[in-house]
């Protein structure tokens, strides 16, 4: 579903992402981890078509993001770490805008919006202007918008920031069940416990290179240790990868 082939992205003289090869299958929940400034957000922006690779190709659902971006984005929903809402729209109007943008017919759009309102428990405030929302309310509304059109690929950057424990639990269950239904979920996070709990595979990126990718067991094996994901992550990111070579279980 998501294919990154030999992707490199430079910002001036700085290499943000270097020779990244990654394939994520449909229905897989992939957690993307890395220290600050490792290249996670750049990779996400490449997958959404917001940025183009300096070299290499990014494909989603078979579409090259650079040449067929509009078709690829029809399959994608992206929830950034600081999501955007129109302050002068109500939550319901925002959901309707999303439904219209993805071409849902009006009746289906209304039904899906109502389902999302129920799912994310937005009833109490969905008809207020979003300028009055708290961070958690904004985050829930954005997730409702992201899932409204039943995307094939959900790309999420730091999903749990600002959410209360109940909403975090709801979101975790939702991400897992959507992946089980066939949605590809790409999750970038610093919450290692969430990655450990939810992910089918985990990728660790450092200094723009994917230094490790696989199941938790594979990562443990690469780190030559038995422990939590936190221990494995700290060990892998504290030592330079041998010749920059990626160790993966394929």
């Amino acid at each position: 579903m998501i294919e990154l082939h030999a992707v490199t992205k430079n910002y001036g003289s700085k290499v943000a992402v270097q020779d990244l090869n990654l394939t994520i299958a449909a229905g897989e929940l992939f957690a993307f981890l890395g220290p600050n400034g490792a290249g996670k957000t750049t990779t996400i922006k490449l997958m959404c078509g917001l940025l183009f690779p300096t070299s290499g190709t990014v494909r989603v659902g078979g579409y090259d993001l650079q040449r067929e971006g509009d078709q690829a984005r029809q399959l994608i929903s992206y929830v950034p770490d600081q999501p955007y809402l129109y302050e002068k729209l109500t939550g319901r109007e925002f959901l309707q805008f999303i439904a219209d943008m993805y071409g849902l017919d009006p009746q289906k759009g209304r039904e899906r919006a109502e389902a999302m309102i129920q799912l994310f428990e937005l009833d109490d405030f969905v008809d207020d202007l979003t300028e009055r929302y708290s961070h958690g309310m904004r985050q829930r509304t954005v997730f409702a918008g992201a899932l409204l059109h039943d995307p094939r690929v959900l790309i999420v950057d730091e999903p749990t920031v600002g959410l209360d424990p109940r909403s975090v639990r709801l979101l975790k269950n939702l991400l897992r069940s959507e992946a089980n239904r066939g949605m590809t979920v790409f999750l970038s996070t610093h919450s290692l416990d969430i990655a450990q709990e939810l992910a089918d595979r985990i990728g660790i990126v450092d200094h723009g290179r994917l230094i490790s990718c696989g199941t938790l067991e594979a990562l443990r094996s690469q780190a030559s240790m038995v422990g939590s994901l936190e221990d494995v992550f700290l060990k892998l990111t504290s030592e330079p990868s041998a010749n920059g070579k990626l160790k993966t279980d394929h």
Binding site: N10, G12, L50, L51, G61, Q74, P83, Y84, E131, R152
Partner: protein, 579 residues
Amino acid sequence: MKLLESSPSITQTGSIRVNQPLLFQRLRWRLLRNSVVTGLQNSPMRLITILLCSALVWGGVYGASVWGFHDLQRQHIPFAGGIVGTLFDLLFLALSIMLIFSTGIILYSSLFSSTETTFLLSLPAAADQIFAYKYQGALMFSSWAFMLLGSPIMIAYGLVFGVPWYFYAILPLYILGFVLLPGSLGAILCLLIVNYVPRKRKQALALLCVMVVGVGLIWTYQIVRSAHAALVNSDALQELFGQLTIAQKPLVPSHWMSRGLEAAARGDLGGAMYSLTLVWANGLFLYVLAAWASMRLYRRGFNRLAEGSDLRRRYGGLWLDRLVSGLVPFAHAQTRLLVIKDFRTFRRDPAQWGQVLIFAGLLAFYGANTRRFYNEDIISRVRQSGVSLLNLTATAFLLCAYTGRFIYPMLSLEGRKFWILGLLPLRRERLLWGKFAFSATGACITAVFLVVFSDTLLGMSIQVVCLHALTVIILAVGLSGLSVGLGACMPNFRESDPSKIAVGFGGTVNLVIGLLFLLLVIGSMDVPYHFYAVATPENDTRLTGWWLAAGVCAGIGLGIAAATIPLRLGARALRRMEF
């Protein structure tokens, strides 16, 4: 395998073809409707004040225009062609240049550095549709001044010269069609600069502005030189009209506008419609060209802008920072740090300093236009005094516009990060003092230089030069205090665009109070002297009389009040502010 072609869930479950232009229009309409409804519910006075202020400005321009056109009529100057036609050509050419830059700068901010467009670009929205949505917003925003200032001039022209009814009917069509031309050109320039000079875009924009101002200055200088000679012989008069032919070339769009409006005024409906068609056809063509360019260049430009510079670019201290710090040696060390912070924020934002360049360009045009008339051989003492007062008033208006546009939004621009400053170990009032020192120092230096320079060229007496310098110092300090104080009283932390903060409710109130303040100060300190100088037989330029002293004292009192009262109110609001 491509999913849209193969997947039933996407192609068959209720998906329809999206009419994106309609969708974006609906979005704009909803945003506008909700803004108006909440504005009326929460603070109807805001909307009423904005409308009243706009009506005030419109009425002022209309009154001045009626007076000016009556004067032309008294001198038996024909209302179409000749001098009036030349004036219209110059007016529309100057407005075109301003619209090119203002639309380009606003589009740069809204297309490439706003969170909204990042959101829209992550949706399956076509690049040209996002461009069109933002372009229309930028055009409305940059051309409202044109509507507000252009329509009263043209209506006054029509009423004074008794033009046919259809002149008024096609006037809005002319204005709407005309803004498309420079607006689209500005948009194309913006896309080209971002795409092809990403690493040096600041320098490219500055170079472009300098080139335009330079060419304008040379041209204006030649015009004024010819105007000087034209007072002596008729050959030179011909030369003067020759110099203005750039604005009157048949291929210059601003000329279509003035020619069409003149035709409508004469009763030549066919000629008026021909020019209107030219304006609209070319405006729409340029718009389509801009939209076509955006299809190819917008996403590419967004990407190039992101990769155009190093992720971790080093921003060191610049000599300019040290200079600015040196200009406020009287301020507390913490205040100086805040001044440098504000200055760095300002100079690293191309949208901000780009508009300062436009201000500088306007000033240069004004200076070049009036410079030659400073010669005492050309103008009488009466006019010399009048020109001197006019220069002072123009400088005061520029100060008011500068503080309203750049200083008033400064506190609001701290935005949601304001808590960082709020938690710093410094008294919150110091934030205001920092911005006040930054504004007042820069405004004082610039304004004093301008009036002393122009008065010296005019040959005004040293007393008058000192009086004018004192006036602009009072204005600079008072307007800075007003803008900083009211900016703290009515902050808008939700808005990140300083232009929008400046034209919001608080910005409008600030502008109106600032205008009243400058009229009162000039009215009490300077107008009495200039009337006295004109009325006395020998044009007595001495500063005498108790009434003059009283006017100066009143001006100083007004200045102190304008600086201290808003700052006190602002400081109180800041102390009570919760994060």
